[in-house]
C-alpha cells in the first residue's frame, strides 16, 4: 500500500527517487515546450494554449489516478500530503504569482527548465525568485498575519463544496474538456486561422474519447469508504450478515467467538500468537477494561496503511472487539470487503463478556457435567481475569508512534 515512503523507500534512496522523478519532470516539461516564455504566456494573450492543455490534462489524469488508487486500496490517502488551505494567503499569493507570470514570463518550475537549455532570461528570473524569497523571509513579520490567517486545515474541494468525490471528479474532467474546446476556438481566432475548433479527424476523436472515458471512470472509481459506510448503515443487513448469530459452546462458527472461548483465548494470549485483538472501543472503555496485546482501532484505521500490516499477519486470527455486537459486525463486514481474512467477533460484544464472565452469577441449577464444568470455568475466570487484564494491559501507543502525513508542497 502506498505511499512507499518511508518504510519501503527510505532515507537516501528517497533522494535518488527525487532525482529520477526530477529528470522525467524536466524532460516532459521541456518536450512540451515549457522552456520558452513566449509559449508560456501565450495562454494569457490567446495565441498559444499549450500550457493549459498540458496542465489540465496532467491534473485530470493524476486526479483520476489518485481516485482509482484510493478505490482499490493501493494508497492510504490519510498519509498523502493534501495542500493546506489558508484562504486569504492562497488568494493573494496566487494573484501575486499571476502578476509575476505576465511580467516575468515563467513560473519557478518552467524557469529552471528554460535555464537548463540556456535561456538567459530564465536565469535572471531564478535570481529574482531567490531575492523574492529573501524579501519574504526578511519581511516575514509583515506577511505573517496574512500568511497564517483563515487556516481551514487540509480540506479537499469536494468536501468544501459538500458534493461527492465522484461528482466532483466528473465535473473537473468535463470542465477540462470544455476548456480545451474553448481555448481551441480562441486560439484559432487570435491566430486568424479560419477553421473550427474541433475537426472530425481521428486525432480529435481520440482526445475526446479518452476525455469521456476519464470523466465516466470517476463513476467507476467510487469513494470506497463512503460506499462501505453506506453498506453497513442498514442494521438489519448487518445483523443477518455476519456469523448468523450462531455460536454454541461446542461448535464455534468461523466468524463468531463466544464469551467462554474468548476468555480461554485471553488467558492464553501471552504465550500464543494465534490471535490478535483489535479493540474498537473508546479510549475510556479501553482504560477501564484493558485487553492484553490488543491494538486500538477506529473505523478510519481500517482504511489506513499501518493497521493493514497487523491485519495481514499469516495464520493469525483477527478478533474484533467493541462494546456491542452490531459495531463488531459492521467493522468485520467492512474489513472483509476490504479483503482482510480470518476475522472473528465476540458474540454479544464486551457487554456480553462482562455479563457472562466478569459479573457471572453461579448457576445453582447446573446438573449435567457440561453445565457444571461451565459454571466452574466461569467462576474461575471471574476470579482471576480482572487482575490478569490489568497486569497485562497494553501500553497505549503514543501519538508520535503514528505515521505522519508526508510533508510536501513548496
Amino acid at each position: 500500500m502506498g505511499p512507499l515512503v518511508p518504510d519501503i523507500i527510505s532515507g537516501n534512496l528517497n533522494y535518488i527517487v527525487a532525482l529520477v522523478i526530477g529528470v522525467l519532470f524536466g524532460a516532459i516539461l521541456e518536450q512540451a515546450g515549457f522552456s520558452t516564455s513566449k509559449k508560456l504566456v501565450g495562454l494569457f494573450y490567446g495565441y498559444d494554449f499549450t500550457v493549459l492543455r498540458v496542465f489540465f490534462t496532467a491534473g485530470v489524469v493524476a486526479m483520476v489516478g489518485v481516485i482509482a488508487f484510493d478505490h482499490y486500496g493501493l494508497i492510504d490517502m490519510s498519509l498523502v500530503f493534501i495542500n493546506p488551505t489558508f484562504l486569504w494567503s492562497a488568494i493573494v499569493g496566487g494573484l501575486i504569482m499571476g502578476l509575476g507570470f505576465v511580467i516575468g514570463g515563467f513560473c519557478p518550475g518552467t524557469s529552471v527548465c528554460a535555464a537548463a537549455i540556456g535561456k538567459i532570461d530564465a536565469m535572471v528570473f531564478i535570481g529574482g525568485a531567490f531575492i523574492g524569497v529573501l524579501i519574504f523571509a526578511e519581511g516575514y513579520p509583515m506577511f505573517e498575519g496574512l500568511y497564517k490567517s483563515a487556516n481551514l486545515g487540509n480540506p479537499q474541494l469536494f468536501e468544501t463544496l459538500h458534493i461527492s468525490q465522484t461528482l466532483f471528479a466528473f465535473i473537473v474532467v468535463i470542465f477540462a474538456l470544455l476548456a480545451f474546446y474553448l481555448t481551441n476556438t480562441i486560439e484559432n481566432k487570435v491566430n486568424k486561422i479560419n477553421q473550427p475548433a474541433i475537426k472530425t479527424t481521428p486525432y480529435f476523436a481520440s482526445v475526446l474519447v479518452v476525455g469521456v472515458i476519464l470523466a465516466l471512470s470517476s463513476f467507476m472509481f467510487t469513494d470506497r469508504k463512503a460506499d462501505l459506510l453506506n453498506l453497513v448503515s442498514d442494521d438489519n443487513y448487518v445483523m443477518n450478515h455476519w456469523g448468523n448469530g450462531k455460536c454454541t459452546d461446542k461448535n464455534n462458527s468461523d466468524q463468531m467467538m463466544c464469551p467462554d472461548e474468548f476468555t480461554l483465548c485471553l488467558m492464553k494470549i501471552m504465550e500464543c500468537d494465534k490471535f490478535h485483538i483489535f479493540d474498537f472501543r473508546s479510549e475510556k472503555d479501553r482504560k477501564e477494561l484493558p485487553l492484553p496485546k490488543s491494538t486500538p482501532m477506529t473505523i478510519d484505521d481500517l482504511f489506513a496503511k499501518e493497521p493493514n500490516k497487523l491485519l495481514t499477519v499469516l495464520h493469525r486470527n483477527n478478533i474484533f472487539i467493541a462494546n456491542d455486537e452490531l459495531t463488531e459486525k459492521k467493522m468485520a463486514i467492512i474489513a472483509t470487503e476490504l479483503g482482510y481474512k480470518r476475522i472473528k467477533i465476540l458474540r454479544g460484544g464486551m457487554n456480553a463478556f462482562r455479563k457472562d464472565i466478569l459479573e457471572y452469577q453461579p448457576n445453582p441449577n447446573a446438573t449435567t457435567l457440561a453445565e457444571k464444568n461451565k459454571d466452574m470455568f466461569r467462576l474461575n475466570a471471574k476470579a482471576i481475569l480482572p487482575a490478569f487484564l490489568q497486569k497485562f494491559k497494553p501500553t497505549e501507543a503514543t501519538k508520535s508512534d503514528k505515521p505522519k502525513r508526508v510533508l510536501g508542497g513548496c
Partner: protein
Amino acid sequence: MEETKYMNPYLAGVLLGLLLLATIYITGRGLGASGAIKSFAIATVESVAPAHTEATQFYQEYSNEHTGSPLMNWLVFEVIGVVIGAFLSGLMANRLKFKFEMGPRSTTKMRVIGAIIGGILWGIGSQLGRGCTSGAALSGMAVMSTGGFLTMFAIFAGAYIFAYFFRKFWI
C-alpha cells in the same frame, strides 16, 4: 540543425499526469519547484550570516519544521533532476542555446527587468500560496485540495487581470 517540434500537449499532459501519480504513490507528495529555490535561499543566508538566521523568526520556523541542512531536501534533489532532464531533452531536440527570449516589441533591457521583477513576485507569491504552479496548483489539483484549486484559480485570475497592462512585453 533544425529544432525538433514540441510534443503533442495532450500526450505530454498524460505523461506528466502519470509521473505525478507515480510521485504521489511513491512519496506521498506531489511535484514542486519553488520549495527548492526557498531551500537554496535559506541555505545561502545560513552560511553567509548564521547569526542573522538564529535571530530571525522566518528561519527559525523553517528549521523547526525541517531537520538537517536545508539542502538535504526532497525538492532540491528533484529540481537538480529537472535541470538534468530539461538539458538532456534540449540536447536531443537541438534547443541548447544561450539566448534571451521576448516579444517583438520588447527590448533586452525590458526583458531583464521583467524577469527580475517577475521572479521576485513569484518568490513572494509562492511563499504566501504555499507553493507554485507545480507544488500548489498541479499537485493540489491531483489530490483535490481546496487550497490547491484556490491557488490555481488565483494564479490564472491574476495573470489574466494583469496581462493587458504588460502586453508590450509579449505581443
